[in-house]
């Protein structure tokens, strides 16, 4: 799956909805559906995160980028 952007490269808005893929990753069809509704795709780098850890990691990074944590 092509991901041209990383989380560090995008600007965080005041309100964010993050969709997190399942353990198998996103299908092309799912990505296109999300993009149709205005979501953008970002990667987190080379690490593969466990499904129960990913939401905490992503929330942490979004809050950090917004200046609201860390």
């Amino acid at each position: 799956l092509e991901r041209e952007r990383f989380l560090r490269d995008v600007k965080v808005k005041e309100s964010v909805i993050a969709l997190i893929g399942n353990e198998g990753g996103w299908s092309q069809k799912e990505v296109e559906m999300a993009q149709k509704y205005g979501f953008i795709t970002v990667g987190l780098g080379n690490r593969i995160l466990r499904a129960e850890v990913a939401p905490v990691v992503i929330s942490s990074l979004i809050l950090f980028k917004s200046g609201d944590l860390g």
Copy 2:
């Protein structure tokens, strides 16, 4: 407890050891003992994190700062 610095304000080295307080927070004596061994104190902002979530959050932010995640 005085914390003059936040995680975002400190430089992350190649290797980091993070000590995370218990739910009651650090005592002055514990802080002084850690500082004696070269640890620095940093805050994460106003959020109070659950003890089982804090390590994931802190690891995420350290890796993000080092360019290794996100």
